[in-house]
């Protein structure tokens, strides 16, 4: 696909989306130095273009009206410029070694021979919502669209590690993919998990998303799935699993993707944390999808307020909604329960009885009582965003 495939429409600036976002989150529009463009990449539909080399593409919020995010609409996030663009599955092997009894080189067919596991899980970038941080922080300036709810199928990581046989003294397991740095000085994207996490039952090496092979940009032919944890660990186009008897020291775990070691994972805005730990479980989050920000609603006409809510793998207990900026709250009806890692849709029937401006808000609580803050919690890298948002609509 070449530049010719970019229609003019793809390049039209989504200026409306930017100003809507700016109004909702209290930024004057001029503060945003950038304008958002749409682009269509291979196997993907028109998505919001953050960066092109390497590709970072964000899902427009309207796709979240669906329980399952379509493969072509799922967000894309690579770190280093030489991303895989061609994979011969006859040649591709998942190599497993290090502190193990045996070394393995598994083909895709080998992976498919292992017990097949399928579940639905939210995938979310650590930096989803970074563009809402005040003061602003550097990084991928995502709105709310660096997430999606996908049904994954694959083999248990634990089964793979057990067939290699972990030797005594194992502490960490590291994961490398086919992407390569543009210059030798740039740290390769290698991630690690403590061995106890890696051996949990629900981690899989997925070779299908929504019943189809992974798209190339979402990690063909196989990627790690760490349900409940941020997607930084969900290494794409996985090629090497290394079992380690010493703590992993690579850049993307030791220096990047770290959160303050405080209860909230936050520090006073603009300050530097004293101690940090690797980011891990997702915070509880909800978002109103429909009506969208700046919608015009009709007086006395019933409208269903709909959105999605999820947590760090503990399911959702309830979601409450306010139509008056947080003064009064109402229970919502929850949709289908597709398991603790999936998001849950919520619905609230509303009949606006007075004209004017309304601030719609939603607040989710997970099954152990973890909920969402009313003020944005701040950390220097722009992670864990889960503030209760305001969706402003007008009733006429």
């Amino acid at each position: 696909m070449g530049p010719a495939n970019f229609s003019r429409r793809n390049f039209l600036k989504a200026a409306g989306a930017v100003s809507a976002m700016a109004a909702v989150h209290g930024f004057p529009a001029e503060l945003l130095a950038y304008e958002r463009r749409m682009a269509r990449f291979p196997e993907k539909t028109d998505l919001i273009l953050l960066t092109s080399r390497p590709p970072q593409l964000e899902t427009p919020l309207s796709y979240f009206k669906e329980m399952i995010t379509p493969n072509e609409a799922l967000f894309v996030r690579w770190h280093i410029a030489n991303v895989p663009t061609s994979v011969d599955v006859n040649e591709w092997r998942l190599k497993v070694g290090g502190n193990t009894e045996k070394e393995l080189a598994l083909s895709l067919a080998d992976l498919k021979k292992l017990e097949k596991v399928t579940f639905t899980a939210v995938i979310q970038c650590s930096g989803n919502g970074r563009s809402f941080f005040v003061p602003p922080v550097a990084g991928g300036e995502w709105g709310d669209g660096a997430m999606g709810n996908v049904t994954w199928t694959g083999a248990r990581l634990r089964d793979i590690l057990n067939s290699a046989g972990l030797k005594a003294g194992t502490v960490d397991v590291s994961f490398n993919g086919l992407d390569k740095p543009p210059l030798p000085t740039v740290p390769d994207l290698v991630k690690s998990l403590p061995v106890d996490k890696a051996m949990e039952e629900d981690l899989i090496v997925a070779y299908e998303m929504n019943g189809k092979p992974l798209t190339m940009l979402n990690g063909f032919p196989a990627r790690l799935i760490v349900p409940g944890w941020y997607a930084t660990y969900w290494v794409k186009s996985l090629s090497d699993i290394t079992v380690l008897s010493k703590p992993f020291e690579g850049f993307w775990v030791k220096s990047a993707y770290r959160i303050p070691e405080t209860d909230c994972g936050c520090v006073p805005p603009g300050t530097t944390p004293k101690k940090t730990v690797p980011i891990n479980r997702m915070t509880t989050r909800s978002l109103i999808i429909d009506p969208s920000a700046s919608s015009e609603l009709t007086l006395n006409k019933p409208v269903t307020i709909m959105g999605v809510a999820f947590s760090g793998g503990r399911g959702i207990q309830d979601v409450i909604v306010s139509v008056d900026g947080g003064k009064r709250w109402e229970e919502t009806r929850l949709g289908e329960d597709k398991g603790k890692y999936s998001w849950r849709q919520f619905f609230y029937e509303w009949r606006p009885a007075k004209p004017g401006r309304y601030a719609l808000m939603a607040r989710a609580t997970d099954t152990i009582g973890e909920s969402q803050p009313f003020e944005g919690l701040w950390n220097p890298a722009g992670y864990l965003w889960n503030k209760v948002e305001k969706t402003e609509v007008v009733v006429k």
Binding site: M1, G2, P3, N5, F6, L31, L32, A33, Y34, A39, R40, F41, P42, E43, L49, L50, T51, S52, R53, P54, P55, I80, A81, V83, T85, S86, V87, D88, V89, N90, S131, P136, A138, G140, E141, P181, P182, L183, P184, T185, V186, P187, P213, M216, L217, F220, P221, F251, S255
Partner: protein, 105 residues
Amino acid sequence: MKKLIILSLMLAVAGFAYAAEKDAVHSIEIPVVKTELRAGEGMDTTEKYCSICHSLDYITMQPKFPKATWVVEVNKMIKVMGAPIPEADARVIIDYLSAQYGTGG
């Protein structure tokens, strides 16, 4: 007649084998997207160095930062990522970014 059937069967089998082999290789071509930096003093220097490892939209997507943040970012690219930028050029880039993508503070 029989011959014809066999022939078409053979063709079908050959076609299948060809498809299987071709399907084994999954390829995409990533589009090249051009990002224009704002015109201003130091733009060429910035474009030259800051597009070595990634596209320039890494710069244009950022919110407006105070100069101190751009200093940290440019130094991170040099010290952590190994960007080969001479000191004098780094100063030109920092001034450019602060002027074009800064808060003025």
